[in-house]
Amino acid sequence: MLADMNTTAPSAPRSLRPVSPRQLEWLTDEVRSWEAEGLVDEQQAASILGSYRAGRRFGLGRLMLYLGSAFIGVGLIWLVASNLDQFPPLARWLVVTAIWLGLVAGAHLLSERRRRHRLPDSSPVVGAVRGGAALAFGAVIFQAAQSLQVPAYEPALVGFWGAGALLYAYAVRAMAPLTVGVTASLVWFVWQVLADAESGLGVVLAFLVGGVIAAAVSVLHRRFEPAGFAVVWREVGALLVLVGLFVAAVPDVDGGDFRMTATLLVAVLVAVALAALALALGRDVTRLLPLGALAVASVGTGLVAWETDRVTGGSIGAGDWLQAALSVAAYVLVAGAVAALGILRDSPRLTWLALAALVVFTTFQSFAVFSQVITGAWLFVVLGLVFVGSGLVFDRARRELESTLEGELS
């Protein structure tokens, strides 16, 4: 394949692909060693290296673009909320719809232009416009609902926004609409579960079942395109599992007023089906992730359903201490697993998420314990010490875990 590179001369001048300075440094070292081994000649080595340039993956320009498109999208939804009565409702909906369609068409034209120039069809500009289009679709839904006097605080509207944004994300295979779609769908799901039946167990189950679904989808994306979406689903799954277990470990959260509503039941069935599918079709050991998330969901449900002396109105007893100890053990185990996954998948965000979750969890639990015996300024001093101490311990644990795993993998 490398030998073919000389024969296929590019018909148009190639533009340089931006890669991180670290990646370019690694590639340069590799190409030099190929050259030394005689796998490529000097000209081919120069041709390979000449295709790339060093650049920040998330530079200021990209940040401004995404911020700008987020401002436009949020501004559009705000415009809907400001209910401009100078224009009739239908005209308002038509204007918002025209802006949404303009963004969809604009993103398509920009990506086609890049394809014509033989560039990858995604770029920060295209991504930002697509993200704006996904946000603008929310404005279309909300304006339609407002124009037709759909009652306020209807969670289904956010759900339809999420579904539309996800549809768009998969149609154009773009990360920005995926982020919007996943976020809106998540907000809808938790809100809908709470609206159907307000209970602590309902909230915990919503987060944990959502975590199982996201983990399973991330595994399936390792086999099915777009493979890049696996990262977003994996990180969302980890976040949901950590939040769900955190809420489950809060002593005052119990199973009172819980009802297995239709939304929750369907979500549980979908989660189990997707976990089975991921187990059957997954490529490597990560196919066990959804099963792990399911196990965490069971533990979380058990912790909430466990009626200790304090919950039933008595004083703090042995059951409460045992529940607290098990909560801490389960959380440390799950956060450790997420941190290890981050290292295995080379995803620093996942590792830092796990560590941040551990520190916040430890501090929260300490707060629950120390606030019983210390008050005022000393409480802050003690909590600060716990915060700093657990941060240092976990950061050291992360580095050791990283070096152990790297040693075993190599």
Binding site: L148, A163, A171
Partner: protein, 161 residues
């Protein structure tokens, strides 16, 4: 061409989602008939859609019951309110959990803390919402609602009594 077809199909599906999100109101407006109810304001602001007036329908709830209306029968979910004419206006018959064989009736839901029939909010600009609320708090007003054969309802107008 293939990419345009996929994008086109996606946009059509998204527009269908807009229709689905507002199906009850669209159906009521397109195929429903008009009914008039006495209406009073309860109180607000939806973060996504702005100012609105939250409405209570005195003739659709139990006179001794909670405001806004709720139904305590130990069950939650779909609820139907048969409608009976009372002069120019319409009032409620007996609440029922099974869909009436014939109309007119309102298809509602009390899975939430209150009975919701899709006609509880009147969206307007902040100043207009305040004016409507003041007006309704005085003598009350009459809501014109379109209701289709399945009980789907859409609020189309508010006017003074």
């Amino acid at each position: 061409m293939n990419r345009i077809a996929v994008l086109g199909a996606c946009v059509v599906a998204q527009l269908a989602l807009v229709g689905l999100a507002t199906y009850d109101q669209l159906s009521a407006r397109a195929f429903g008939e008009e009914y008039r109810f006495l209406v009073q304001p309860v109180d607000p602001h939806d973060p996504f859609r702005g100012s609105y007036v939250d409405l209570d329908y005195p003739d659709l709830r139990d006179p001794d019951g909670s405001v806004p209306a709720s139904f305590e029968d130990g069950d939650q979910g779909p609820l139907y309110i048969p409608l009976v004419r009372d002069g120019d206006l319409w009032v409620r018959g007996e609440y029922t959990r099974t869909r009436p064989d014939e109309g007119p009736y309102l298809a509602c839901d009390d899975g939430d803390w209150r009975i919701r029939c899709g006609i509880e909010s009147w969206f307007a600009s902040a100043s207009e919402a305040r004016r409507v609320e003041r007006e309704l708090a005085g003598d009350g007003a009459v809501a014109t609602v379109r209701i289709d054969g399945r009980g789907n309802a859409a609020l189309v107008d508010l006017s003074s009594r």
